[in-house]
C-alpha cells in the first residue's frame, strides 16, 4: 500500500477487509519515517515495540473474526505533552527529563487504542506549548515538509509536520491559542480545535488550565472526523471536560450546507490577513455561497485577555522551576514565562471577567450565523529564524503574530475546523481557513468542511522528501 496517498479511512478499510494488515501498514510508516524524518525533525520519541504489539493485536483480532475498531491498524503519533505509559512526558522541555516516566497513557491515547489505532511515537513541539513556531532549541526546529527552510508552525508543529510528511495519517495535538490551527495552516493539513471542554485533557501536560484544548490533525477530512469521533467520551475525572454526551460528526458530515448561514469575518480579521490569506478565505466563501461580512465582537479585546491569562497561568505553573532552573528553559520563551509570573493580579482577574462578557457577545453572534470563515494564519510559513513579519505594512513580532487570527476564536471556546488551502501567491505554501461554529456545534463546521473538500478547494498535497 502506498501510504503517502492513503488516508486513515482507506487504511482502516483495507485492514478491515483483509486487503492489508496492521503490521504491513506500520512497516510502511516506519520506513517512511526512517527515510525522511531526519529532514523534518517531527519525532522526539518512537514507540516501536509498543506499536508492533498493538498492530499484531489488531491482526490477531481480524484472524480470529473479532470486531475491529473504527481506527483498526491506523498508525498515529502524539505531541510530546501527552502521557505515554513508560515514557517521560517532555512537553518540549529538558526540565521535564528529570520527571518519572508516565504511569499510564493519556485518556485520549486510551480512546485511540480502544478504536484500534497504533501509536508510533511522540512529536516535537514548542517548550511547554508557549510558541507558534516549534523552533525548539533543545530538540531542534521542526521543518515544514513543503519547504524545509520554513517553520512548521506550533506549538503542535511536530503533529502538523508528521501528517504533512505522510509519516502518519493522524496526529494528536493541543491548542490553547492556536497550536493546532497554526501548524495545520502552515503545513497544509486538516486540524480540529473542538469546543473548549469537549475532549478530556487528562494525562497531558498542561499549559493554561482555563484555555487548553486537545484535538486531532489528519491528512483527510474523513480521517479527522474518524479520529474526533473516536476521541469523544465524557470524562468526569477531568475538571475541564464539560461534554455531556458523545456527538459523532461522521454520520452527518455529508448533509451539505443548505439552510446554513455562512459569513466572512471582516474588521480585525481582514486587517490582520495578508493578501494570500484573504485569497483563500474568498475562495472558501465563494464555494460555500457566503457573501456577507460579519464583525466578530471585541476581537482585539478577546485576544488581549487570552494573552494575559496565558502569561499568568503559564508563569504560575512553572514558577518553582523558574526560580531554580530558568537557564534550562527555552531561550525563546523563558522571559515571557517570567513576565507572566510577575503580572499584576488585577490584569488576570479582569481578563477572566472580560471573558465572561465576551462569551455572551460571541454566542449572540451565532443567533444570526451558523458558520463563520477567516484565515487560520495571517501569512504562509515564514523562514525558520524570522523575527519580524510585515502584515499589510505593519511590523509584527513574527512568533506572536502567527496567533493573531486564532486567539480571539479559541478564547470564546468555539469549535474550528482548519481546512488546508493553497493560495496562488505563496509559491506553493498553504494557508488554512478556519471554519468556525457555535460552541458544541462541531457538526456544522464538519458539514461546511465537507463541501470545501468535495469541491476540491481544500485538500492535502503529498510532498517529496
Amino acid at each position: 500500500m502506498n501510504i503517502e496517498a492513503c488516508d486513515a479511512l482507506a487504511m482502516a478499510a483495507s485492514v478491515a477487509s483483509g486487503e492489508t494488515t496492521a503490521r504491513a501498514l506500520l512497516d510502511s510508516c516506519v520506513k517512511r519515517i526512517e527515510a525522511t524524518d531526519a529532514k523534518v525533525n517531527a519525532f522526539t520519541d518512537k514507540t516501536l515495540s509498543r506499536a508492533f504489539a498493538e498492530a499484531d493485536a489488531v491482526d490477531a483480532r481480524f484472524t480470529n473474526g473479532e470486531a475491529l475498531g473504527p481506527l483498526a491498524g491506523v498508525p498515529y503519533a502524539v505531541k510530546n505533552l501527552f502521557d505515554i505509559e513508560g515514557i517521560v512526558t517532555l512537553a518540549g522541555s529538558v526540565v521535564n527529563r528529570s520527571h518519572a516516566p508516565a504511569a499510564a497513557d493519556a485518556f485520549l491515547i486510551s480512546q485511540m487504542k480502544n478504536a484500534g489505532a497504533v501509536l508510533i511515537g511522540a512529536l516535537n513541539m514548542d517548550e511547554y506549548a508557549y510558541g507558534f513556531t516549534t523552533e525548539n532549541t533543545h530538540y531542534g526546529a521542526c521543518h515544514n515538509p513543503h519547504d524545509l527552510s520554513r517553520i512548521a508552525g506550533g506549538s503542535s508543529g511536530g503533529s502538523g509536520a508528521a501528517v504533512a510528511a505522510s509519516h502518519v495519517p493522524i496526529a494528536l495535538g493541543s491548542d490553547t491559542n492556536g497550536s493546532i490551527r497554526v501548524p495545520a495552516s502552515l503545513c497544509g493539513v486538516w486540524g480540529l480545535k473542538p469546543t473548549f471542554g469537549r475532549l478530556s485533557r487528562r494525562g497531558t501536560y498542561p499549559f493554561v488550565y482555563s484555555i487548553d484544548h486537545l484535538g486531532p490533525m489528519a491528512s483527510s477530512l474523513g480521517g479527522l472526523a474518524l479520529a474526533y469521533d473516536a476521541l469523544q467520551c465524557c470524562d468526569p475525572l477531568d475538571a475541564g471536560c464539560h461534554a455531556l454526551e458523545v456527538q459523532p460528526v461522521m454520520p452527518r458530515m455529508n448533509h451539505g450546507i443548505e439552510g446554513l448561514r455562512v459569513g466572512i469575518l471582516g474588521g480585525y480579521f481582514h486587517d490582520h490577513a495578508s493578501r494570500a490569506a484573504r485569497e483563500v478565505v474568498a475562495l472558501a466563501a465563494i464555494t460555500l455561497g457566503a457573501t456577507d461580512e460579519v464583525i466578530w465582537p471585541d476581537a482585539a479585546l478577546g485576544r488581549a485577555a487570552a494573552v494575559i491569562i496565558t502569561a499568568s497561568e503559564g508563569g504560575s505553573l512553572h514558577l518553582n522551576d523558574l526560580r531554580t532552573r530558568a537557564d534550562e528553559f527555552e531561550p525563546l520563551s523563558v522571559d515571557r514565562f517570567i513576565a507572566g509570573a510577575l503580572q499584576p493580579a488585577d490584569w488576570t482577574i479582569k481578563a477572566h471577567r472580560v471573558r465572561r462578557q465576551y462569551r455572551g457577545k460571541v454566542n449572540a453572534l451565532f443567533k444570526d450565523w451558523d458558520i463563520l470563515l477567516t484565515a487560520a494564519t495571517p501569512v504562509s510559513a515564514p523562514m525558520i529564524g524570522t523575527d519580524w513579519l510585515d502584515i499589510n505594512s505593519t511590523q509584527h513580532p513574527a512568533r506572536a503574530a502567527m496567533g493573531l487570527l486564532t486567539q480571539p476564536i479559541s478564547f470564546a471556546g468555539c469549535p474550528v475546523v482548519a481546512a488546508p488551502m493553497w493560495p496562488m501567491q505563496t509559491s506553493g505554501m498553504p494557508i488554512g481557513v478556519q471554519i468556525i461554529a457555535a460552541p458544541w456545534r462541531e457538526d456544522l463546521a464538519f458539514r461546511a468542511a465537507h463541501v470545501l473538500a468535495g469541491a476540491g478547494v481544500a485538500h492535502v498535497k503529498t510532498v517529496n522528501l
Partner: protein
C-alpha cells in the same frame, strides 16, 4: 509607565517571588511586560459590570453516600 519604572517593578516583584534576576534578564522581561501592559489597557477600558464574575471557575462536587463520615447513633 516608562521603561525604567517597569524594570524597577520587575526587580521588586522578582525578589518577592524568589526569581533570580540579573540586569539583562530584567530588561528583557520588562520589554515583555510593557507589551502586556498595552493589552491590559484594553481590559481597563472595557465596561465591566459587577455581575461579570468568576464563580464558575470553582464548582463544589457532590459527595457520594459512602464518602460521608458521620457517626452512627
Amino acid at each position: 509607565m516608562n521603561e525604567p519604572d517597569v524594570v524597577t517593578y520587575v526587580k521588586s516583584t522578582a525578589v518577592l517571588l524568589g526569581i533570580p534576576m540579573d540586569a539583562a534578564r530584567a530588561s528583557r522581561v520588562a520589554s515583555h511586560l510593557q507589551r502586556t501592559a498595552a493589552m491590559a489597557a484594553l481590559l481597563n477600558a472595557a465596561n465591566l459590570s459587577v455581575e461579570e464574575e468568576l464563580a464558575e471557575i470553582y464548582c463544589p462536587t457532590l459527595l457520594k453516600p459512602n464518602e460521608y463520615n458521620l457517626k452512627q447513633p
